[in-house]
């Protein structure tokens, strides 16, 4: 339970959720070793570890190689190109909303469960607040929350 709670927290409180929504999109990822990879994103986890298929890996010298499966550690990523056609706000809402609405509040004896619940509810409340307010910039909120602009 503890591992999942931490994963969820990392996912919901950072911009990683947006990168996770790139599953199924074709994009370019630039790595910290000056290499870049262009391919179809299969999977991204909460630590931004990424798997791609049909990938063209180009190293710092410009040499390219085609790979059927490419996996990279999240920490080794420098940039991720976001496709023009992607609606980022919608993607993030899709990511967050299901976790809040369908969650049943059971016995809160487990601390990890309680923490996840609070995080998710707080995030959803903050999102609702921003949506109704239509401000120039996002609400202050507790530190550690992402701020987004429509």
């Amino acid at each position: 339970m503890g591992i999942h709670a931490r994963s969820r927290h990392r996912e919901l409180n950072t911009l990683t959720c947006l990168v996770m929504k790139l599953e199924g999109w074709k994009t370019t990822v630039e790595l910290q070793n000056d290499a870049y990879v262009s391919g179809l994103v299969i999977e991204v986890d909460a630590k931004m570890n990424m798997q791609m298929t049909d990938a063209w890996y180009t190293d710092g010298n410009g040499r390219s190689i085609r790979l059927d499966l490419f996996h990279v550690r999240g920490r080794k990523i420098r940039y991720v190109h976001i496709p023009d056609k992607m609606d980022m706000m919608e993607a993030i809402r899709e990511r967050v909303a299901p976790l809040v609405r369908h969650r049943k509040v059971g016995k809160k004896s487990h601390i990890a469960l309680k923490r996840t619940e609070q995080t998710v509810r707080r995030f959803y409340r903050q999102q609702e607040g921003e949506y109704h307010q239509q401000p120039q910039q996002g609400e202050a909120g507790p530190s550690g929350h992402q701020t987004l602009l429509h």
Binding site: N13, T14, T16, Y79, V80, L149
Partner: protein, 104 residues
């Protein structure tokens, strides 16, 4: 959470350094990154790790070469433009408003 006497910008309290970045949302900013890289773009989103979403971004990579004959230092810059970019926060050194004048 804002106490009386705290500096405020409009209706929002400035409590910590990250709040200053919030003020730059949807503005053009300058980001200095590791490995002699600089980004200039419009800030769409950020988080506490300084992961950022930048739009209309121009990346500048600076490299130094030493001339073989004159032993002068030659600074070379490479630029490119990307429409929408996610930047991983661990590469970010600093965030600032775009600099006016020299170095543009």
């Amino acid at each position: 959470m804002a106490e009386d006497g705290e500096p405020t910008i409009g209706t929002m309290a400035v409590e910590e350094p990250l709040d200053l970045i919030r003020l730059s949302l949807d503005e053009r900013i300058y980001v200095k990154m590791r490995n002699e890289r600089e980004l200039r773009g419009r800030l769409h989103a950020y988080d506490q790790h300084l992961n950022m979403i930048l739009g209309d971004v121009e990346e500048t990579v600076t490299s130094v070469e030493v001339d073989d004959e004159t032993f002068e230092e030659v600074y070379k810059t490479t630029r490119r433009n990307i429409p929408m970019l996610f930047v991983r926060g661990d590469g970010v050194i600093l965030v600032a408003p775009p600099m006016r004048g020299g170095g543009m």
